[in-house]
């Protein structure tokens, strides 16, 4: 495996009274889509801006593609793409003009016409940037981050303010970036976005990392995951013990009522397969087999005692 794309190690960033980032450490592997998820004010943007070289770490260190974003900026900047949360274009410039300008700063840019078409920017025509809609500005900003064929792109809240169709377009684009081997680091406070897009999610709160993992690991693989088996005819009395024996000792089987069983433990695909094998061997006809899905909202709630959206 090659070196990680991003290594944040013990980062501390303070503004006047508040500590925005408080000893944060995280790693982003190359070629992944990694989401930094957390409520507003969790320190996501500050962390990203430190990776982009805008801010000097007050404590700890940040490396992107093995480089120091400030001391080695000239080497690093051509290799990364940056999408700011807002602004970044001249108010009198037109979208195609702006995109072509950024393209001209790169050695092997993507054909601007291709990106315009992909991101629906052709509709902007000769309209000045200041008169574009919020969604158009957002898509232009994303196009500017991608046009230089970067190895790593940092995108800050890429779909904030986009309508559902534009949001899907952006999500599809991220899938394609992953296929093409681009590392994507995105911040978001949308749980569904992180869950759908990301290979890995780092959940941060109050400037600290509180959990990391794939969406599956975070929502099911961790502490409590469940399979609920509901059948059409009552279970025979020996059923729980027999199923438990088939699943091994790390898994608990509890009879909920005469028609349903709850399997608790690492409920992965092989557990699921063994449960359905057991049904076949025991002559049990399942009516439903449901994986207990904790979503990220639940995870966040469990970790912090409050919801993602309510905790600004």
């Amino acid at each position: 495996m090659s070196d990680p794309a991003v290594v944040v190690d013990g980062l501390v960033m303070r503004y006047a009274e508040t500590t925005a980032v408080d000893g944060l450490s995280l790693t982003v592997e190359r070629g992944t889509v990694t989401a930094v998820l957390g409520p507003n004010g969790a320190g996501k943007t500050t962390t990203l801006e430190t990776c982009e070289g805008y801010r000097r770490p007050q404590q700890g260190s940040v490396r992107v593609l093995g480089l120091d974003p400030r001391a080695q900026a000239r080497e690093l900047l051509p290799r990364i793409g940056v999408m700011l949360q807002e602004g970044g274009a001249w108010s009198g410039a037109r979208a195609p003009e702006m995109l072509r300008h950024i393209a001209s700063l790169h050695a092997h840019p993507i054909d601007p016409a291709v990106l315009e078409e992909r991101l629906g920017l052709a509709e902007c025509g000769r309209t000045a940037y200041r008169r574009l809609s919020g969604g158009q500005k957002q898509r232009l900003s994303l196009a500017m981050a991608l046009i230089g064929r970067p190895e790593v792109v940092f995108v800050d809240e890429p779909t904030a303010g986009l309508d559902p169709a534009a949001r899907r377009t952006v999500w599809e684009l991220f899938e394609e970036l992953r296929r093409d081997g681009v590392t994507v680091v995105l911040t978001t406070h949308y749980m569904d976005e992180a869950e759908k897009l990301a290979d890995r999610i780092h959940i941060i709160d109050h400037g600290r990392l509180i959990a990391s993992g794939s969406p599956l690991e975070l929502t099911r693989g961790g502490t409590v995951s469940t399979i609920r088996l509901v059948v059409t005819k009552p279970f025979p009395p020996e059923a729980p013990a027999s199923l438990a024996a088939a699943l091994g000792d790390r898994i608990e089987v509890v009879l909920l009522d005469e028609l349903s069983l709850l399997v608790t433990g690492p409920a992965d695909a092989s557990t699921l397969a063994r449960v359905s094998d057991w049904c076949e061997r025991s002559g049990v006809l399942p009516e439903s087999l449901t994986l207990g899905t904790r979503n990220l909202e639940d995870v966040f709630l469990e970790l912090t005692g409050r919801g993602l959206k309510e905790s600004a």
Partner: protein, 257 residues
């Protein structure tokens, strides 16, 4: 297999980046209506007004009024672009995150600065061409020689450097709205009392101060070039000193966000 986004990063060669930046900035400067007003319309009004007005009033100088005023108006045009337009444009670039965005691009800050200066010079060439034509139409009879042209070019370059460093100082320290107001105010004050259009001697006691201002020095450099065909060394040194002061202050105080 390679897709649309397969990484192939790299910065464009520096000269190409700088040229692209200069071209973009020049285009935006010219597109902006208010800037055009201050860059061309006001200097033309001043030129025509002063020459016609002086004829009516029967004012008498050592030289014909048009020969005195035209070089001063050329200096005014340099001041309007290198100071006022640059300060306002840069302040709004800060405000709208353009400097921040470009800060994450392959274009180095030094390249950005050279690009800006390139844009200023391109716009100035257009301004000087228009104003010279208007001046000639009004009967301007400049002293033309190798020395006078070199003197004028030196004046324009050093004047641009001095005013640009001061414009960036203002843009990098004040809020965008404050810069908009202050840059226009300074322009008007220097236009009225900065010895740019008329020689410092025309301002009585204040002339002693005005000749040390960048406006007075640039105006004098242009007048000496086109009236006498000589290089105004004292005034070029004054402009150089303002450039040095402005640059040092700017590098210490400029905030990119």
């Amino acid at each position: 297999m390679s897709g649309t986004f397969t990484p192939q990063p790299g910065a464009a060669p520096l000269p190409r980046m700088v040229l692209a930046q200069a071209r973009m900035e020049a285009r935006l400067l010219v597109r902006n209506g208010e800037q055009l007003l201050i860059a061309v319309v006001i200097p033309v009004i001043v030129l025509v007004g002063m020459v016609r007005g002086a004829e009516r009033l029967g004012l008498d100088y050592d030289h014909p009024v048009v020969d005195v005023v035209t070089p001063g108006v050329l200096a005014l045009a340099v001041m309007s672009t290198a100071f006022t337009s640059l300060a306002i444009a840069t302040a709004f670039e800060r405000r709208y995150g353009i400097l921040k965005r470009l800060g994450a691009s392959p274009l180095p800050r030094s390249g950005l600065l050279v690009g800006k200066v390139g844009a200023l010079l391109a716009v100035e060439v257009l301004q000087l061409a228009v104003l010279s034509v208007v001046g000639l139409a009004l009967g301007w009879d400049p002293h033309l020689s190798g020395v006078s042209l070199v003197a004028a070019v030196l004046g324009v370059l050093l004047g641009t450097a001095a005013f640009a460093s001061l414009g960036l100082l203002m843009a990098g320290a004040l809020r965008a709205e404050a810069t908009l107001a202050a840059a226009n105010l300074v322009y008007l004050l220097l236009l009225a009392a900065g010895a740019v259009i008329l020689p410092a001697s025309a301002y009585g006691g204040f002339g002693a101060v005005a000749q040390w201002l960048p406006s007075g020095a640039l105006g004098e450099a242009m007048r000496e070039a086109f009236l006498d065909g000589t290089v105004a060394w004292r005034d070029l040194v004054v402009l150089g000193a303002w450039t040095t002061l402005g640059t040092i202050a700017t590098t210490r105080t400029f905030s990119w966000e």
